[in-house]
Amino acid sequence: QQQVKQSPQSLIVQKGGISIINCAYENTAFDYFPWYQQFPGKGPALLIAIRPDVSEKKEGRFTISFNKSAKQFSLHIMDSQPGDSATYFCAASMGGGATNKLIFGTGTLLAVQP
């Protein structure tokens, strides 16, 4: 129940294309869903995040779509660029407790070809 399932494991997209990464969760107590971007040798960096009372959030070329009834959320990268090539992790956390530990998905390695 604490798991976040992420797919695909890897993704190759042409420059200018749309990259789509999907995540699913079981625990309805999760109330915060961030996406992190990680470049080789670096720590995860927060990209964009959403709460379950919102169905979509857009920041520049990055959009999160959230389907509460299906317990799924996805990251869309519009006009993908070679500089977007990185590993992307979805995550989830729940409020109301002593901590907001992040439960991470397994990651998606994105390669954007020029």
Binding site: D31, Y32, P34, Y36, G41, K42, G43, P44, A45, L46, A49, R51, F89, S93, M94, G95, G96, G97, A98, T99, N100, K101, L102, I103, F104, G105, T106, G107
Partner: protein, 115 residues
Amino acid sequence: EPEVTQTPSHQVTQMGQEVILRCVPISNHLYFYWYRQILGQKVEFLVSFYNNEISEKSEIFDDQFSVERPDGSNFTLKIRSTKLEDSAMYFCASSVFQYSNQPQHFGDGTRLSIL
């Protein structure tokens, strides 16, 4: 922009030895975390820390692990007797509050290699 700083970037240690990983969280942050990432795998929560106490720990964080905030700026993770399976990237993170919508900011990690 303020950032989380971790040292060393790479630590090589013999099995059975003690190792201390160090972190300097963002200065106005109150909540601190350690996560682990085994090569090629997902990032896993180890422990959270607030007000000089552990708030939560995972099953990975056994008696061999301890955390400490020895002064007003550093946050450390100690592994008392390292095992081969402790080889991983260890990330420190911090946030202003513990509420779930407060972003956690990560350092660039310490690569721990156990020989």
